[in-house]
């Protein structure tokens, strides 16, 4: 392979070999498939329509090593990040590697599996679904995860089973001597009429450079229901490129809420694919960024059958010279009649230098559908600030309350009290930086 060509694949930014590491046949097969795709797919540039607005420098100016070679720090005490509601339903991954001591799984309803992938490769659901749902065209990131992962999360909820306690998937990243990559992986299989709540969290414990490339796959059988909260609090120097995808059978419900607070570069590409009639799904997002953070959401709501209901409210607050990008596609196939889909992107710009690109996009081939979309970019209204201030609130407090009000709706959909509280604290922290 020529020097030039090499520079153009994802592997150019990786130091060392990305070799199949999976200990089972099923994972190794995915590793190899990923490796092949990686070698033949060019790394995106600004010339690619879907990457026009985003500056990928945070990735391309670095070289990332595997966690084993990075000289990572010990994890220490992270119990402050445990959720009281999920004390016995928690899996912890440190720098992408499963940590059994910090994890705690007990008291699950009969038959429910919440465990690591490597220990469950013989499970029928892993054999039939792992690596089959992810589907991103001309992509280098999902294949990178495919090529590099050897473990991850496996959740299986049997028929008619409800898991009451939220399941907390906690990915923490520690400081390291070298910039490293991590490829968290999650497979969720919800059998008919099962139900659960997943809190997927990514936390950078330090301020180091790393590349976090998670892939999550949700296979949702008839009538199954998932509430999926994703909280991204990576290190402010990290890059996070994620591929969460869900495949929905008849009457399935999948509601996802992605909260972006951390990372220097965040690119999220949620996709929900309707695999049968009468599904209901949500792809909400809340982005709070400042400094030189970039947060980019490219989502697809793919309606392929009739009678689907979907909803996307994507809210962004942008301060300093941060940059928010939104491209939300709603696809409605020719025979997918009676689709009711709503999409809205609302941006609150707090600074002159902040930047927002937004492009809601409808591609509708059916004729009997109800689809609406819209985007707004606004600032805090001076009249609102003055009104609050005239009542005695300081200007700072007035602005804080207004940003809080803007973000509140998204936070309130978390449904897990400690998570809501933690996010409200984050919102207050965001509006209260002392250097403002």
């Amino acid at each position: 392979m020529s020097e030039v060509l090499q520079k153009e694949t994802m592997l150019s930014y990786i130091d060392g070999k990305v070799e199949p590491k999976g200990t089972s046949i099923s994972i190794r097969a995915i590793n190899e498939r990923g490796r092949e795709e990686l070698e033949s797919t060019p790394f995106p540039t600004r010339k690619d329509e879907d990457w026009r607005f985003i500056d990928l420098k945070s990735i391309t100016k670095n070289t990332f090593v595997s966690v084993e070679e990075a000289g990572t720090e010990e994890v220490g005490d992270i119990s402050n990040h445990f959720l009281p509601e999920a004390m016995n339903t928690r899996l912890v991954f440190v720098n992408g590697i499963y940590n059994e001591e910090l994890s705690s799984i007990s008291d699950l309803p009969n038959g429910v599996i919440v465990g690591n992938l490597a220990d469950n490769t013989d499970h029928d659901s892993v054999k039939s679904h792992l690596g089959t749902i992810t589907n991103y065209e001309n992509d280098v990131f999902a294949p990178f995860n495919d090529a590099a992962f050897s473990d991850g999360t496996f959740i299986h909820v049997p028929e008619e089973t409800v898991v009451e306690a939220p399941i907390h998937i906690l990915n923490v990243f520690t400081d390291a001597e070298k910039a490293f990559y991590a490829t968290p992986r999650l497979l969720y299989v919800g059998e008919m009429f099962s139900k659960s709540t997943i809190i997927e969290e990514h936390i950078g414990l330090s301020n180091n450079v790393y590349l976090n490339v998670p892939v999550t796959e949700f296979k949702m059988f008839t009538g199954s229901n998932v509430h999926h909260a994703r909280i991204q609090r990576d290190s402010k120097q990290a890059s996070h490129v994620s591929r969460p995808i869900a495949m929905l059978d008849k009457n399935a419900e999948y509601h996802s809420y992605t909260i972006c607070l951390g990372a220097k570069l965040f690119r999220n590409e949620p996709r929900v694919i309707q695999n049968s009639e009468e599904v209901d799904f949500t792809v909400d997002g809340l982005v709070l960024i400042d400094g030189d953070q970039i947060a980019d959401t490219h989502s697809i709501m793919d309606h392929r059958y009739a009678h689907g209901k979907s909803h996307q409210l994507h809210k962004c607050v942008v301060n300093d010279s941060a940059h928010s990008i939104f491209n939300g596609k709603i696809f409605v196939a020719k025979d997918a009649q009676k689709i009711d889909s709503f999409q809205e992107n609302r941006n609150l710009l707090l600074s002159e230098e902040g930047k927002v690109n937004t492009k809601p996009q409808l591609e509708i081939f059916a004729d009997d559908v109800l689809c609406s979309h819209g985007a707004t970019i606004g600032q805090l209204q001076d009249e609102e600030v003055f009104y609050l201030q005239s009542r005695g609130l300081t200007e700072q407090k007035s602005r804080e309350l207004l940003v809080y009000a803007f973000a509140l709706e998204s936070v309130e959909s978390m449904e897990v009290e400690s998570v809501e509280k933690l996010l409200l604290d984050e919102v207050i922290k965001y509006t209260n930086r002392d250097d403002k």
Binding site: D382, F386, S390, R391, G392, A405
Partner: protein, 256 residues
């Protein structure tokens, strides 16, 4: 209590002078009314007094209880006991009335080294003020003014005034948009709040409000100035003859 001396104000960053030398003195226990044609500067005066950053004072002074407050921020003036009931109350989606009032009440209490109220105490305190203006308590948990009818917004301003208990209040056309029953309720509320230690400045176009809340002084504002001051009879005169006559009298007197 309040003394405004030769107040000139322009729109910040522009050359348009709106207040052109306002003089006004308000003592504790007094009720003043300011009347005047559209665009004469009444709302601007109330906003400049409460510290709106959109306007810049170019000349003159605002004294409150002897202290020069001309350069203070709006919240600092509120802490001293100033209140403005807006002509157009602002809708603030996402923040409830209760949240605003608790935050405001406690901030003012803190600034004055008074005891703050915890959420439960504040709840009781709020409940006790609902009667003043016959306000339904469901309004407490609604977003500030959001989706309120015109009359409800005005009532909400007076409710806020009752809760925050200011020393001096400017009520900018609080009567506009109120039906006759609401006007009576609001006026009763204002009268309950008024007292020997309080002062009020009512901005209005209509004598009907002044039938319910008797002013001690009536001022006529025109062209960014107070051109005439009198008692209640001035409002009656105005109601009968309009501003034209005053305008004539004013120019005949040679005032500029």
């Amino acid at each position: 209590m309040l003394e405004i001396k030769n107040l000139h104000a322009v729109v910040e960053g522009e050359d348009i002078e709106i207040l052109k030398g306002v003089n006004l003195k308000v003592n504790a226990g007094e009720i003043h009314a300011i009347m005047g044609p559209n665009g004469s500067g009444k709302s601007t005066l109330s906003k400049v007094v409460s510290g709106h950053p959109e306007y810049e004072v170019t000349e003159g002074q605002i004294l409150f209880e002897g202290e020069d407050i001309t350069e203070l921020d709006a919240d600092e003036r509120a802490h001293l006991g100033l209140f403005l009931a807006f002509q157009y109350p602002v809708e603030v989606p996402g923040i409830t009335n209760k949240t605003l009032l608790r935050e405001a009440y406690n901030t003012i209490a803190r600034a004055n080294e008074r005891e703050e109220l915890d959420p439960l105490e504040f709840e009781d305190y709020l409940e006790s003020k609902l009667d003043v203006i016959e306000m339904k308590d469901e309004f407490l948990s609604r977003s500030i003014n959001t989706g309120f009818s015109g009359g409800e917004k005005k009532k909400n301003e007076i409710f806020q005034m009752a809760v925050l208990d200011p020393k001096l209040s400017f009520l900018d056309e609080t009567d506009s948009g109120l039906d006759i029953d609401a006007l009576k309720i609001v006026s009763d509320g204002v009268n309950k709040i008024a007292g020997p230690e309080k002062a009020m400045v009512l901005i209005t176009h209509y004598q009907r409000l002044l039938n319910y809340i008797k002013p001690d002084f009536v001022h006529i504002m025109m062209g960014g100035k107070i051109i005439k001051t009198g008692d209640f009879s001035l409002a009656e005169q105005l109601e009968a003859h309009g501003y034209d006559e005053l305008q004539k009298e004013f120019s005949l007197n040679g005032a500029q």
